[in-house]
Structures are given as C-alpha cells and as structure tokens.
C-alpha cells in the first residue's frame, strides 16, 4: 500500500525530466523505482539496477495513462519475466498509451472541463465557484484515470493489452467529444456575454468580427496558430490606439 502510494505520487511528476531524446523514459524509471525496491535483496542488487536501467530508457505515453505502463512493467519485473519479453512489451505499449490519452484527455476531458468552467463564469459565478467547479471536475477525472491505470497495469502485468479495450478508452473520446460540443455551444455566448461588458453596445459588429476571425484562424491552421493571430491583431489595435 505504501509503495503504491509512493508510485502514485511520483506519477504526478512523471514528466519532470521530459526531453526530446528519451521523452518519458527517465520519468518511467523514477516512478517505477519504489516498486522495484520490492525485488529480492532491495535496491543494491544487480537485479534492481538492471531493471531500473531497462525502465529508464526511451518511452512515450500520455502522462495520465503512463501508470498503466508503470504498473504493468513493475509487475513484470517483480514476477521475473525475461528481459527480452519486457523490452518487446515496452515497445508495443508506447503508441497506444500516447494516442488514446491525447484523444481522451487533451482533446476531450480538458476542453470539456474548461468549457464547464466558462459556463459557470458566464452564469455569474464568482472566482471561488468557477475555480472550485473547474478544478474539482477536471481533477476528479484526472486522478481517477491515473489511479485506475496503475491498478490495471499492476493487476494484469504483461496481459494489460486486453484491459486497454475498456469501454472508457474505446468509446470515451467520442462521448466526451459530444458533451464538449454541447458545452461549447452553451459556454461561448455565456462567457462572451459576461466578458464583453460595455462592448455589448457594438454586439452586431463584434459577432461579425468573431465569425470572420474564426474563419481566418481555421483557414490559416497549420501556418499560424490562433493565439499568435490574436496577439498580432491586439498589438496592431494597441499601436493604433496609442499612435492616433
């Protein structure tokens, strides 16, 4: 239990040494280390050091689903699986844990929770309410996913691939996508209505500008991100305001 808690806590810092060479590699080694200390003889044995060296090499996964790998690999090492088998398993696990997590979390859960926060803001919520609802909702899912991943990884070991067919991972991204679409439709006018304040006198013009601006951002996708375009537009506006 204590070792599991240590691993779970370290999972929150799994990307602490992220780099373009080994990606999450050192992070996997960092997180798995408390579990490897359960190997016979502890941390000063050749078996521990070989296992840690093996687990600190290149690896790629979504940070919230990396617990699946950490749990499964820890189980494999402690069960004494052959190193070649562990290496092959490691390689096979990289891709799925990255792409599934990106769709489920970065393109799904995160924008959904952000939009719920904006709905609460748009309905007049104060700082405490907006932050509490956004952070509470987001991290309920975030922490549950990390804990679940570690659990199924440890439970299934090298057979964890069957557990990755879980409905959450297969159908979750699309379900959250639909919820996000609904939330976006509700949130945008509400947030817009509260932020615009005195600018609502120019509402018609602003709405036209929003639609035109959005079409421009979509058109320029891949060449110039929207936030850079917003910076250029606002900078130009500021310079005109100051100079005229």
């Amino acid at each position: 239990m204590r070792v599991r808690a240590q691993v779970l806590l370290r999972l929150l810092a799994i990307q602490g040494a992220w780099n373009y060479e080994t990606l999450l590699g050192n992070g996997i080694g960092f997180c798995i280390e408390p579990a490897l200390s359960l190997l016979p003889g502890g941390v000063h044995t050749p078996r521990f050091k070989e296992a840690l060296a093996r687990q600190s090499r290149y690896f790629n996964a979504h940070p919230y689903l990396a617990g699946v790998a950490v749990g499964a690999l820890a189980r494999a090492e402690i069960d004494g699986e052959a190193p070649e088998r562990i290496e092959r398993f490691r390689t096979a696990l990289c891709g799925p844990l990255g792409s599934v997590g990106d769709r489920l979390v970065w393109a799904g859960w995160l924008p959904f929770c952000s939009l719920i926060g904006l709905v609460v803001f748009g309905l007049g919520g104060g700082p405490v309410a907006v932050l509490a609802i956004f952070l509470g909702l987001y991290n309920a899912g975030h922490l549950a996913l990390r804990a679940w991943g570690l659990q199924i990884g440890w439970t299934h070991g090298l057979r964890v691939a069957t557990a990755l067919a879980h409905p959450l991972l297969r159908r979750g991204p699309q379900a959250i996508g639909r919820a996000t679409a609904l939330a976006a439709g509700i949130a945008l006018p509400l947030a817009f209505g509260r932020v615009i304040g005195p600018g609502r006198y120019l509402l018609g013009g602003v709405v036209l500008a929003v639609v035109a601006g959005a079409l421009l951002v979509i058109r320029l996708e891949g060449r110039l991100e929207g936030w850079r375009l917003a910076l250029l537009a606002l900078l130009a506006f500021a310079l005109i305001s100051v100079a005229r």
Partner: protein, 227 residues
C-alpha cells in the same frame, strides 16, 4: 514597480509554470485559474477571473500533445492577470493590453520550454553511464533537477515579463484613445474568434457535434438574452 508585488508573482508563476508539464498537471496553470490567482495576490480576484476567462477562450486552442510546441499558459496568465489589475482604475484599454502582455509572455514561455527540454536531454546525456548502470541517484536526481529548472524558468520569466510589461501597459493605457466599448469589443472579438475556431478544430470530426453545438448555442444565447 514594487518588489513586494514581483516576488510573490514570480513564485506563483514558477509554481504554475511547473504545473503545465512537470508537476502535477492539475490544470492550476490554465488561464482561468492562473490569472484569477495572480489578480487575487494583488487584491482583485474578480477582475482576474474576467481576464482569465478571456484568456481561457484563447487557450481552448492549445492541445498539449507530447512533443508539440505550445504556449506555456501558467506564467503567461499570471502576467496577464497581474497586468490587468495593476492599475486599479482599469482604464479603457487595459483588457487589450493585458491580453497582449499575456500572449507575448506565452510566446516567450513556449520557447523557454523547448530550451528546458533540450537542457534535460543534455543533462541525461551527461549522466548516460549512471542511467545505463541503473543508478537510483542518477534517475531521481535527473527528475528533481528537471523540475527545479522548470520552476526557476517559470519564476524568472514571470518576474521579467511583469517587470517589463506592466509599466509599458500602464504607459500605453494613459494615452489610450479608443473608448472602453470599442476596446472591450475588440479584445473579446479576438478571444472569441480563436475559441470558435478551436471548437471547430476539436469537434469537426465528432459525429453529431455540429447539431449539439448548434443546440447549445441556442440555449446559451437564450440564457444571455433572458438574463
């Protein structure tokens, strides 16, 4: 410029910059949260929430996939929130100027994250023998070093950006010529454009998304009109 304002903001920027990738990725670094906390440090969380929500509309576009390059919103939103409330009178152009400050910081912070990742790789290469030997101290040391560097990066960036941009924004606000309605309208239009495009980018491949979005838009618009 009061050093007693800059230091806590720098610490907050460091902590929230850390949250973006290194620890704990609990989305404390999202603009909605970060700008509110920064403005709260300066005594006006309500105003921070306003600029935070505006920046959050822009941040909807950011999908922080692995090796992709994206703005680091933690320190950027701290600077934006602090600049917005730095002048308690909230002059007409302050929202637009605070957004410029945040987005300019975001550009620099994104670049600094790339440099940090390259530095992490350099440190890992220097300790290759320790990693290959399975040295526990090497693995843990690299992780802690990376996190410390990320915190320092965020803190220094926040301090420098706020120290430079707050006086510039204040000076621009004193000679600002557009009235508050036009200024707010332009600022909101910029943010909402990016948000609408972001919604399309995320959702255009999701089945039935356009109908759900349209339905939500109707409900949201009615709620605005009826309030």
């Amino acid at each position: 410029m009061n050093p007693y304002d800059v230091l806590p903001l720098a610490m907050l920027g460091g902590l929230l910059g850390l949250d973006v990738v290194s620890f704990p990725q609990a989305m404390l670094s999202r603009p909605l949260v970060a700008a509110t906390l920064a403005a709260g440090l300066l005594g006006d969380p309500g105003a921070g929430l306003l600029i935070g929500a505006t920046l959050e509309l822009i941040a909807l576009e950011t999908l922080p996939f692995g090796a992709s390059r994206y703005p680091e919103w933690g320190s950027a939103a701290v600077v934006g929130g602090a600049v917005f409330v730095h002048d308690a009178a909230h002059p007409a152009g302050m929202m637009a100027l605070a957004m410029v400050a945040a987005l300019a910081t975001a550009m620099l912070s994104g670049w600094s994250m790339v440099k940090l990742r390259q530095l992490n790789a350099h440190w890992a290469a220097r300790h290759r023998s320790g990693l290959d030997a399975g040295a526990r101290g090497t693995v843990i040391g690299l992780q802690l070093r990376g996190m410390t560097a990320d915190f320092v990066r965020g803190a220094v960036l926040t301090a420098v950006a706020f120290a430079v941009l707050a006086p510039v924004a204040h000076a621009a606000a004193t000679v600002w010529t557009f009235d508050v309605r036009v200024s707010r309208g332009v600022a909101v239009a910029a943010a909402a454009s990016v948000a609408l495009a972001a919604a399309w980018k995320i959702l255009h491949t999701v089945p039935a998304a356009r109908w759900l979005f349209a339905g939500g838009l109707l409900a949201g618009s009615l709620a605005v009109v009826l309030r």
